[in-house]
């Protein structure tokens, strides 16, 4: 099982995402934004960071990268594609996911361990979670406010395309506390929080059991492996 992680100019969590893929049991493959080549990978991760310095709109310039032509084709043909933070913004800009991400309503960058509820466990990236699982993974962004028009929100809610919802205080003004969504087919998922930072004991969020022992993010990556194994 080979999962590609695309590096864009300004990506900063690409190595973490590769490590998460490895810890989940797949082989990470480094991909480059300027290529027109997915190197035959089985799934794709668009990692977090600040591509092109967040100029224009977060993810907007990266969404026009050469490799995005192949990403869009792969997503439309059913390949599992995950966008984390800046990667989520790119998928929204590329219209592979509905809605948009804007500056946090309080105007501040926020970095904290964030509780989420997994509300759709049938996607390619969440099938390894129990239904309505409550997880904690890091959140770190300045422009994570999820917005869409009322019709789009109603459709996402009605069709079960809201995958992750913030628990507790809404961290950024996202409509309906939406932290992550999927497409109709369930193969493309985007979320603002960072599962790749909660995959190994000693480096994750604090838990009741021990400091930094949280590994709730790992199931995102094992889910993709499960989804690919069942094809």
């Amino acid at each position: 099982m080979r999962i590609g992680v695309i590096t864009f100019p300004g990506s900063l969590d690409d190595r973490d995402a590769q490590r998460a893929v490895r810890l989940a049991g797949a082989e990470p493959v480094a991909l480059w934004h300027g290529d027109h080549d997915l190197h035959g990978v089985d799934a794709l991760v668009l990692p977090g960071g600040f591509s092109y310095g967040d100029y224009l709109r977060c993810g907007a310039i990266a969404a026009h990268s050469p490799i995005m032509a192949e990403v869009i084709d792969a997503a439309n043909s059913g390949m599992p594609v995950l966008g984390i933070c800046n990667g989520f913004q790119m998928l929204a800009e590329a219209h592979l996911l509905a809605g948009g991400l804007i500056r946090n309503d309080h105007g501040n960058f926020i970095c904290r361990d964030q509780g989420l509820r997994v509300e759709n466990t049938s996607t390619a990236w969440t099938n390894d979670f129990a239904a309505n699982a409550e997880i904690t993974i890091p959140l770190k962004n300045g422009e994570g406010g999820f917005i869409a028009d009322a019709d789009t929100i109603n459709r996402l809610e009605g069709e079960g395309q809201v995958v992750f919802r913030y628990l507790g205080v809404n961290p950024n003004g996202s409509i309906n506390d939406i932290a992550g969504v999927t497409n109709e087919r369930g193969n493309v998922v985007g979320l603002m929080p960072h599962p790749e930072h909660a995959v190994e004991e000693g480096f994750g969020p604090d838990t009741a059991a021990a400091m930094r022992s949280g590994v709730d993010g790992l199931s995102i990556f094992t889910s993709a492996i499960r989804a690919l194994a069942s094809v």
Partner: protein
């Protein structure tokens, strides 16, 4: 050389956090008459040669596909500035 100006604004129905922050700052300075500030973007494209309909069509496509995101923003104007008359012609 002519300049094409593209202006983009956040959709009126959606929150503009930058504008909200500036509105708050004005009120803290003592202003009581400005009820809202909304912040958009202005793109100035310098063109080599004449601006024809083919180029304008191309710019309209860039305005829709790259300069703005139709989910959260609207292209409010595309204007051609002619340096010889320093007047603007609405081209949207």
């Amino acid at each position: 050389m002519p300049t094409i100006v593209v202006e983009v604004m956040p959709k009126a129905v959606l929150l503009d956090p930058q504008g909200k922050a500036v509105t708050g700052a004005l009120h803290r300075l003592g202003n009581t008459t400005i009820s809202e500030v909304r912040i958009g973007k202005r793109f100035e494209l310098t063109v080599e040669g004449p601006v024809d309909e083919t180029l304008l069509a191309e710019v309209r496509a860039y305005a829709d596909d790259m300069f703005s995101n139709s989910v959260i923003e609207d292209v409010v104007s595309i204007t051609v500035l002619d340096p010889s008359t320093s007047s603007g012609t609405e081209a949207a």
